[in-house]
Point group: C2
Chain length 176, copies 2
């Protein structure tokens, strides 16, 4: 039953991508990223929460990691590798102090999302046959305007994810 | 026979775990908080993302702010005050460096959710008549085991939210 449910989710995910591509509304006209041919999936901002994070250094962002139903189901079942149809979306915002919150708290303690950086949206799409050369994952990155990253940038994705092969190349754990 | 008996014991054990897990995640039987009489709403972990944040200082947490459909709709329409039925859920995790991520990045840059603190779950529930004395909002807090905060703690909620009356007493903005 679980396998059938997962299969249905995978089919629904693929159907969703196809439907989205066919539709002319929203971001349907946006380009796909090079190499992996991935477009922005419709409704990703409504997906369920996997986790949150803060990256310091050059990135200096606050991020939310969301997943489609296949991703969430796999995470909650502790299932590795992730099934085909899984999509993990990483949204990032610049890391800024909230002046209005801090005024209430009486100190600089609250950090919130500021403007979206150029790496606003990153996606991992599981298709074990199509993306066999990169661990079964396709990678994508879009800026806040929906503009896809270039080939040089996309070539850096898999080498960075390769060290976490034991976690099916995914950095993010599910936040309990 | 012994093998069958052992198998039956094993099945019973698994069934027991499943039943327990279902109950624990349901949480519908948990106690309500004092003053406001709010229980943990079922399925809140599946709600859509409003925003994320990091609080420094004594809290030192990473947080996700999720909303039920009424909350999300009001946020996206920029509608204030929030309508009755709105529930905003703030989930918090302790703020810890990710050693496994940092090993890949070659420096201490990645901060992720650690264990849930005592203030794991906070809720704001809008009912303009029932909670007229506190700006139309009921407040609740639960620890990771689902235990509600006491009366003294709950009395501190509204005074802290009062300075952001212009935002209908809600600190969190919607992350674009």
């Amino acid at each position: 039953m679980k396998r059938i449910a997962l299969l249905l989710v995978a089919i629904a995910a693929v159907a969703g991508v196809v439907t989205f591509t066919a539709r002319a509304s929203g971001r349907a006209d946006e380009d796909a990223v090079p190499i992996f041919g991935i477009k922005i999936p419709p409704g990703y901002r409504d997906w369920k929460l996997i986790s949150v994070a803060h990256e310091e250094g050059n990135l200096n962002d606050l991020r939310a990691i969301l997943g489609n139903d296949a991703a969430i189901m796999a995470y909650r079942e502790g299932k590795l590798p992730f099934p085909d149809g899984t999509i993990i979306a990483r949204l990032a915002w610049s890391y800024v102090p909230s002046e209005e919150n801090n005024k209430v708290f009486g100190r600089r303690q609250s950090f919130v999302p500021g403007p979206q950086p150029d790496w606003y949206l990153q996606l991992m799409v599981k298709d074990s046959r199509k993306y066999a050369a990169t661990g079964g994952w396709g990678f994508a990155q879009f800026d806040k305007s929906g503009k896809p990253a270039d080939e040089a940038m996309l070539k850096t994705c898999f080498p960075c994810h390769e060290p976490v092969k034991a976690r099916d190349f995914v950095f993010t754990h599910y936040a309990p």
